[in-house]
């Protein structure tokens, strides 16, 4: 274990703690993205660039985008339900 790896693992633990302690889903999705990017850095440090490459895109773009879309969809459904309740 070299110093760089120890540093990255410590940052990873810290960012994991931060991610689970955030309660607002939107902020949590961003924190999850940061956690994933640190994971990609860790894969790079242990010499797995193939895995790091997919991790960067999955955690940096794909996962937050899907989470945000899902949250937006839930919100719009709630709004639609409220509208229907008001109309009745």
């Amino acid at each position: 274990m070299n110093t760089l790896l120890v540093l990255v693992l410590a940052l990873l633990a810290l960012s994991g703690l931060v991610t689970v302690s955030i309660r607002d889903p939107v902020r949590q999705a961003i924190a999850l993205g940061v956690f994933g990017l640190l994971e990609a850095l860790m894969f790079f440090v242990v010499q797995a660039p193939d895995v790091a490459l997919s991790q960067i895109v999955v955690s940096g773009v794909a996962l937050p985008a899907m989470l945000f879309l899902a949250m937006a969809k839930i919100r719009s459904q709630r709004e639609a339900e409220r509208e229907e309740a008001e109309e009745e």
Binding site: P49, D50, L53
Partner: protein
């Protein structure tokens, strides 16, 4: 509440059994492993030293994933395919529930992205799509391959979404047939490559194409073809999830 204070509830017992089994299994499973960071994996050593000589592929990771262990990758690919089918089955029931409004009315003033955001988002689509094509086609030479490149291609389209060009994504949602074809065609194409080996030599996923010069774009036998098939499948699958999640109700003005 059924939990008696001080007494053992059933929940606690079940939880304790689960914790003991998980921790015990984890310790049992990891004690026999090589120490962290050691370089004594015989399989890794073998493939790193023989991938170029046997398959003319300079990236031994892709040589393992798309040639030596291509059958495992077929399973992985179908895991993705089936999970996306599940998502689509769950979400598509909403598809025809309401009439789709005119496109001009879809984006109200308040929900439009700023000019800078639109410019940056749109300007990044092309370069990222080219990067995706590069990563897919150079899988057997440098780190990358179909899975990584496919998801980067999806990210290129996600930049349209970040640029606020909702209308394009809605069109994508209405014309999902080509995304579906991309997904299904990629998944089937990879399996077809396996059957090609079966037909040519009698072994499923036998690398039946000429290996070419190592270091060139068309080297490693069927690896470039397999990477393109998997790249299309991954991009199609992830795009299908994104397009199913995009809902025209998201575009209504906030009240």
């Amino acid at each position: 509440m059924r939990d008696r204070p001080g007494g053992f509830s059933l929940r606690l017992v079940v939880g304790a059994i689960g914790v003991v089994l998980t921790v015990g299994g984890f310790v049992w499973g990891t004690t026999g492993l090589h120490p962290f960071g050691s370089e004594h994996s015989r399989y890794g050593f073998y493939t790193a030293h023989h991938a170029v000589a046997q398959r003319h592929a300079t990236n031994s990771v892709v040589a393992v994933a798309f040639d030596y262990r291509a059958f495992d990758t077929l399973g992985e690919e179908f895991i993705l395919f089936i999970s996306v089918v599940g998502v689509v089955v769950l979400l598509r029931s909403l598809h025809d529930e309401e009439e789709e409004p005119e496109e001009e009315k879809l984006i109200p003033e308040q929900r439009r992205a700023s000019d800078a955001e639109r410019w940056l988002g749109t300007a990044l689509v092309g370069p990222i799509a080219i990067l995706a094509a590069y990563i897919v086609t150079h899988g057997q030479l440098t780190p990358g391959g179909g899975f990584q490149g496919g998801i980067i291609l999806m990210a290129a389209i996600a930049f349209i979404f970040l640029g606020g060009e909702w209308v394009i994504l809605l069109r994508l949602r209405r014309a999902t047939s080509w995304v579906e074809m991309m997904d299904a065609g990629g998944a089937a194409g990879f399996a077809m490559i396996g059957f090609g080996g079966l037909i040519a030599t009698g072994a499923f996923f036998y690398n039946f194409l000429p290996f070419g010069t190592s270091g060139s774009l068309l080297s490693g036998g069927f690896m470039p073809l397999a990477n393109v098939a998997v790249g299309l499948e991954v991009a199609g699958a992830t795009l299908m999830v994104v397009s199913e999640l995009v809902d025209q109700r998201l575009l209504r003005p906030p009240r």
